[in-house]
């Protein structure tokens, strides 16, 4: 389905990355796999370095750290936060919402609309859509969108399918009204019939965590994983992306009456380099126009990958100029989302380390 928004803009974005950096060549020793095959995986998927939280760090820790930096550097005033949207699959607790926890820790005003959204890899676009809707209200002038996950804590170190690609991060994006008469188009699709392709089977009410759900099981292909761990059907997700994303972006551009040539960058979620190169080939987009280098630098950090890609690849440019971009997210749900917008000039756009 298609959406249109007017007079909204991204003011700036910060991406908080744990300082703890892990190297694939060190970690591959943990996999029950020939070294040559692991090195092949590294080469094809683009695995190299990734950022991972210490085992006790939660989403609210990363978000509070980043928002304090915004306040301390005078880029945002605490009293300006009219809404705080937290998009996460790894909340601090099942209850209450992590957005409320962050509000409390930062001492934000009671007139703050706190909202958690259970979305991951498609969650940056979905969070922006929610922010734009809130900005239709007279009382909402600035929205803070946090996309954060600590999924490394839910990945089995013995699962070569998932462990080497996961990164942790929190992006903090400020959204506001645009004085220019800007138009933003979005397109969104969901398919819950395929929800099992990406899931954490245990830990909710359907299958609460027990000693049994923590037991590592041989899941084939020399990988070990427990029910408490994140599961991804890699080949199904690959097919999903190749089949669904090109028509989603074509549909978005048709809806907007725009062409791919008029777009400066296609900024996709970053599952791995292989999948993004195949997607670019299929859409006939040059690799330079569709960056694929987040995984090799930081890992796939879930809903924060698009802001990470913006700060890594366009940081300087979007602070000085305006770019026309397509954003595209895809992941758990299954959910796939795309947005056509002008990006810039951003007041802030950078990567910062969480000590």
């Amino acid at each position: 389905m298609n959406f249109t928004y007017r007079r909204k803009r991204i003011a700036g974005t910060f991406v908080v990355l744990p300082a703890n950096e892990r190297l694939f060549v060190e970690e591959m020793k943990n996999f029950n796999f020939p070294e040559a095959r692991s090195l092949k995986l590294k080469e094809v998927m683009g695995y190299n370095k990734r950022r991972m939280v210490q085992p006790d760090v939660c989403v609210s820790d990363l978000a509070v750290f980043g928002m304090k930096q915004l306040f301390d550097r005078g880029l945002l005033k605490p009293e300006e936060v009219d809404a705080l949207i937290v998009v996460t699959q790894t909340p601090d607790h099942l209850m209450p919402p992590t957005s409320n926890i962050i509000q409390g820790r930062l001492g934000l005003k009671q007139d703050t609309f706190c909202l958690d959204l259970n979305q991951a890899c498609a969650g940056f676009v979905i969070g922006l859509m929610q922010a734009f809707m809130l900005l239709e209200q007279e009382s909402v002038r600035k929205v803070v969108l946090v996309n954060a996950d600590v999924l490394s804590r839910k990945a089995s170190p013995k699962d070569r399918n998932i462990y080497p690609l996961i990164g942790d991060a929190a992006s903090i994006t400020v959204i506001e009204r645009d004085v220019d008469d800007s138009v933003i188009h979005a397109s969104l699709k969901m398919d819950g019939a395929r929800h099992q392709a990406l899931m954490i089977p245990a830990g909710g009410m359907r299958h609460p965590c027990t000693p049994e759900t923590a037991v590592l099981e041989d899941v084939g292909d020399h990988n070990l994983r427990a029910k408490d761990h994140l599961y991804m059907d890699g080949s199904a997700i690959f097919n999903f992306v190749q089949v669904e994303i090109p028509p989603l972006i074509e549909g978005l551009l048709a809806h907007a009456g725009a062409s791919l040539d008029s777009v400066d960058y296609v900024l996709c979620h970053q599952p791995n380099r292989f999948m993004l190169q195949k997607l670019a080939d299929k859409m006939k987009v040059p690799y330079a126009k569709m960056p694929n280098n987040v995984v090799e630098n930081f890992g796939n950090n879930s809903g924060a990958t698009i802001p990470t890609s913006i700060a890594l690849n366009l940081g300087g440019r979007v602070k000085e100029n305006r770019c026309r971009v397509v954003l595209a997210g895809f992941g758990g749900g299954l959910t796939w989302s795309a947005m056509l917008m002008d990006l810039g000039k951003l007041a802030f756009c950078e990567l910062i380390d969480y000590p």
């Binding site: 995986l41 292909d221 080949s235 199904a236 097919n239 299929k282």
Partner: protein, 73 residues
């Protein structure tokens, strides 16, 4: 067929593959190889196969027959 076998050989990093060769007997045949085959069939033949479609396939010739049956459909 020859072009197809050359592509499969490239994925398995061997000099050549014969029609009768059992793909699953190669130590290089793992989840990455399966994904690479799926990606190759998509880009070269416009086919979107799932990993499950490859489960009953053993020889390179079986895979070629599968490709032909799907592209004809």
């Amino acid at each position: 067929m020859n072009e197809f076998l050359t592509k499969i050989a490239g994925i398995l990093e061997v000099e050549q593959i014969k029609e009768t060769d059992d793909l699953k007997a190669f130590p290089q045949w793992d989840s990455l190889a399966v994904l690479s085959v799926i990606a190759m069939l998509d880009s070269s033949y416009g086919l979107n196969l799932h990993a499950a479609d490859l489960e009953p396939v053993h020889s390179a010739g079986d895979l070629w027959k599968l490709v032909q049956s799907r592209t004809a459909a």
